[in-house]
Symmetry: C2
Subunit: 305 residues, 2 copies
C-alpha cells in the first residue's frame, strides 16, 4: 500500500492515431495537425501521430504523410508512427518520425483475424522493419495487444504475453507497451501481464496501454504505478471507440490520467487546463462531448463560473 | 503491490437515495420501489432506500414512508435511511429500517452551507438520534462528507476527518463511511483519510463512498481494498449528479465496482447481468443512458449479439 510511486510519469498521447482511427467520423488532416500542435502546447512530449497502413484497411490514416509534414517538430517532442510492414516503414521513414511502433497480439485468434497471420509470422514480418528502423536511428516500440483478454478467445494467460514480449526482444524491439485492447483488465491481471514484460525489459522500457471500455483503466494505471511503471498511453478526450463493443468508450482519457497523477504528486509536465481546452476543441470537431470525466467536470465548472 | 485483498466485499447501493436525490427528474414512488426490488433480486444485500429530510429541502425524498412501506423486506437484506434530526428519526422509525444514516462534514464551510450549523453542532444534534436509534435496536452509520476536499474550502486535511470520526465514535455511531463528496480524491489522499478512520473504528466498520466526478472512484476503491477495507457505497447506473459541477457524473456505478471486484477474484454475491438490466431499466425511466461504463459496454455487446 505505501510502496513509493514514480516521481515523474511520461504520457504518450495516442489520440491522433489510435483515437481518431477508431472514431466513426473522418477528421481532416488540418484538424489532425492542429490536434498535435495543441497537445504539444499542453506539454505532451510523446505523441503517436499516425500510421502508415494500407488506406484500403485504415482509410482514416491515409493522410499520414500530410499530417507528419504539417506538424511542428519542436526539440524535445517525440513523434511516433505505427507501421505494419516494410512498405509502411519506408513510407513512414520519409516523414522522419522519432519512433516507429510495431505490434503483435498475445492471442492467436486476434492475430489471425486482425492481420491474417500467426503471432510468430507477424513477429518475423517485423524483424526486417525493426532492423531497418534501428539502422536509421529510430527507436522501435512494440505494442502487445490483447495482453489481458481477446475478443475471440477470452482470457489470455500471462505466459502468452511473455512469449510475444520475448519474440519482440529477440528481433530488437526496444520498448514494449502492454495493451488491454478490449478494456476488461483489472489490476491484478494487468500486474500479472506486466510482470512478464518486466522479465525481459527494464522498468523504463515498459508501458501500459489501457482502454476504458469497462471503466477500469485508471485503476490499472494505479496498479502499474505501484510496480514502478512510469509510462502510459492515453488519448485526449478519450478519443476512440471500441470496435468490439460499438458505443462503448475507447482509450483512457489523457486528462483523467493527468488528474490522478497530479493528485498523487507525480509530475507529468502537462498543463491540465490546456489539455481540457484541447479535449473540448477536438470533441467539438467531432460534434460530441468528450468521453473524459475530468474534461466534462472541468468544463461544467467553467460553465458555472 | 501484492498485499492480499479482501476475499469478499459488501456493496451498499445508495442509488435509490443519494442517486435519485441528485437527479434532475423526479421519480415516482412506484419506480423507486421497483428499483429496490430489482436491486435485491440482483443480489444487493444493503440498500440505502430513502431519507426523512424536510420535503422543503429535499422534495425528491418526500415519499420516503411510502417507499419504505412498499418494498419487500426479505431476510438478509438490510435497508437504511438517512435522517437529519429527531423529527426525521421518528418518521423513519415508524417505517422500521434496519439502519439509520447520520452525517457530518469534515469541512466547516460545507457544514454551514449544507445544514446551517457547525460540525460540532451537527454532531451534538445527532447524539440523541444515535442514542434513540440504538435504543430501538437499529444500527447507526455515520457519513463523513468532504473527507478529501470541500467545494468551498478546497483540500481537507486528514486531521479534520479524524476529528469528525472521533466525534461520531463518542456519540455511539457504529460505522463510518468516508465520503469524497466532490470526487476529486486520488488514491493516496483517500488512503490518508481512511487511515484516520481506522484509528477509531475496526476495518469491518469503515467504508468508502466515492463520487466519479473526475473518474477517480475505482482507483480509490482499489486503494482501499489494499488497506483491507471491504465495504463501499455505489449507485446502480451511476445515478446521481454532482451539485458542485452540473452535468458531471455522480456516485461510482455499482456495475463498475462489481466488474472490478469480480475481476480481482473478490466475491460480492451480485449478479452483474441482472444489475446491468436494472441499470438499463432505471436509466430508461429517467430517459437517458446509464453513466456506467460497464453497463454501456455490456449493453452495446448485447445489442451486437
Amino acid at each position: 500500500m505505501s510502496s513509493s510511486l514514480p516521481s515523474r510519469v511520461t504520457l504518450v498521447d495516442v489520440g491522433p492515431r489510435d483515437g481518431l482511427q477508431n472514431e466513426k467520423q473522418a477528421v481532416a488532416a488540418a484538424h489532425k495537425i492542429e490536434l498535435v500542435q495543441r497537445l504539444q502546447q499542453a506539454g505532451l512530449r510523446e505523441i503517436e501521430v499516425t500510421s502508415f497502413v494500407s488506406p484500403k484497411w485504415v482509410p482514416q490514416m491515409a493522410d499520414g504523410a500530410e499530417v507528419m509534414a504539417g506538424i511542428a517538430r519542436p526539440a524535445g517532442v517525440r513523434h511516433s508512427v505505427l507501421v505494419p510492414n516494410m512498405k509502411g516503414f519506408e513510407a513512414a521513414l520519409a516523414t522522419r518520425p522519432d519512433e516507429i511502433v510495431v505490434f503483435g497480439a498475445a492471442s492467436e485468434a486476434f492475430s489471425q483475424k486482425n492481420i491474417n497471420c500467426s503471432i510468430a509470422e507477424s513477429i518475423e514480418r517485423f524483424a526486417p522493419v525493426t532492423a531497418a528502423a534501428r539502422e536509421a536511428g529510430l527507436k522501435v516500440r512494440g505494442a502487445v495487444s490483447c495482453a489481458v483478454a481477446c475478443p475471440y478467445e477470452g482470457e489470455i494467460h500471462p505466459d502468452r504475453v511473455e512469449l510475444v514480449v520475448r519474440l519482440m526482444k529477440e528481433i530488437g524491439v526496444q520498448h514494449v507497451g502492454i495493451a488491454d485492447t478490449i478494456g476488461v483488465g483489472t489490476p491484478r491481471r494487468v500486474q500479472a501481464a506486466m510482470e512478464r514484460a518486466l522479465k525481459h525489459y527494464p522498468l523504463a522500457e515498459v508501458s501500459g496501454h489501457f482502454h476504458d471500455t469497462y471503466g477500469q483503466s485508471l485503476s490499472n494505471v494505479y496498479a502499474c504505478l505501484e510496480m514502478g511503471i512510469a509510462s502510459f498511453d492515453a488519448s485526449v478526450a478519450g478519443l476512440g471507440g471500441c470496435p468490439y463493443a460499438k458505443g462503448a468508450t475507447g482509450n483512457v482519457a489523457t486528462e483523467d490520467v493527468v488528474f490522478m497523477l497530479h493528485g498523487l504528486g507525480i509530475e507529468t509536465g502537462i498543463d491540465l487546463d490546456a489539455l481540457v481546452d484541447t479535449a473540448a476543441w477536438i470533441s467539438g470537431v467531432l460534434g460530441r462531448k468528450p468521453v473524459s470525466r475530468v474534461a466534462n467536470a472541468m468544463l461544467a465548472r467553467r460553465a458555472a463560473a
